[in-house]
Symmetry: C2
Subunit: 185 residues, 2 copies
Amino acid sequence: MTRENNINIIETTVDSKRVFDGLILHIDHITNRLPNGKLAAREIARHVGASAVVPVDAEGNVWLVKQFRAPIDQVLLEIPAGKLDYKGEDRLKAAKRELQEETGLTAASWTHLSDIVTTPGFSDEKISLYLARDLSAGQSHPDEDEFLNVVRVPLAELVAMIMRGEVTDSKTICAVLLAEKAING
Amino acid sequence: MTRENNINIIETTVDSKRVFDGLILHIDHITNRLPNGKLAAREIARHVGASAVVPVDAEGNVWLVKQFRAPIDQVLLEIPAGKLDYKGEDRLKAAKRELQEETGLTAASWTHLSDIVTTPGFSDEKISLYLARDLSAGQSHPDEDEFLNVVRVPLAELVAMIMRGEVTDSKTICAVLLAEKAING
C-alpha cells in the first residue's frame, strides 16, 4: 500500500518509550498524531520475526510438527518454523535451519510463497513462508527445550483438515493454502 | 489434537506470574515442566481475542479496509475486524458489530469459516473468521481513534493479489482463501 494514496489515514509517531523487556517480546508505548491532529497511545510488541516452511515430498505428503504451545495450552499441528536468530537474519537461511532442526529434512528446491504479518494490530512479527521440495531425510535436532512429533499428511487431506477447522495455526493455514495454489495452479 | 496421543510432548505449568499489564496486552511469565522433567520459562501475551469478516456482495466484490498499523508503520489492506469487547463475548455478535462500525454493512447470511490462533508461540490471541453475504449498505461509525478507507476488490482479483504477496495480513489471507473455497468449492 503506498502512503501517497492513503494520506488521510496515516499516523505519525511523536514519542516512543520501551515499557517492558521480556524473553522474546519487547513492548513499546508510542504516541501517534492521528489524521485529525489528535494524539493516541499505541502499544507495540516488538518480535524478531520468523521463517516457516511447507515441505512437500515426492509422494505429495506435507511434513508437519505437533508441538505443545503454552500460550493456548494445546498441542498444535503446524508447519516447521522458528524465530530468526537475530533481527535481519537471512530468512531463507533461517527457514533451512528450522526445517532441518525440527524434521531432519533438507530440500533442493525452495520457493518463496509470501511474507505475512501475524498480528499487525499489536506486534511487528513478520513470518516468511517457503515451499520446499526435492526433500532428503536426515537427523532432526530440536532445541533443548523443544519437544516435537513429526507427522506426514497428504496435501489434499491437509487442505480438507483446514477447511474443517482442524488446523488453527494462522501461518500454517496461509502457507499450506498458498502452497496448494502454487503446486496445483 | 488430543492430549492422549501426544503425551510425550505435553508441558505442565507449575508457576505463573503477571509481569506486565499494558493497554491491550498482559504478559505472564510461566514455568513449565517439560516432558523430560526439566523446567522451562515461557512468555505469554494474553489478548482478549477478535472476530473478522469476509463480506462478499452480490457482484462478487469483497469489502476491505485500508488501515494504518502502527506496529509495522504501514497501511495494510485487511478484512473488517476488531477486538472482542470482553473475554468471552459472543464472537458472531462481535463480527457483526465490527463489520457495521468499519464499513456500515449489515449482512443477512453468516457462515463461520474457522477459528485461528495468530501467534501460538507467544500469545493466546484467537480470531473467529466469518463469511458474510446478502449485504445491505448503511452508515459506518469507526472508533474515535480509528481512520479507515473502505475499498471493494473482486474476490478473484483479491486471491491473485494474495498470491502475488500484495496482501500480507495473516487473518485476511486465511479468511479470503477459506471463503473462496467455501464459495467456489
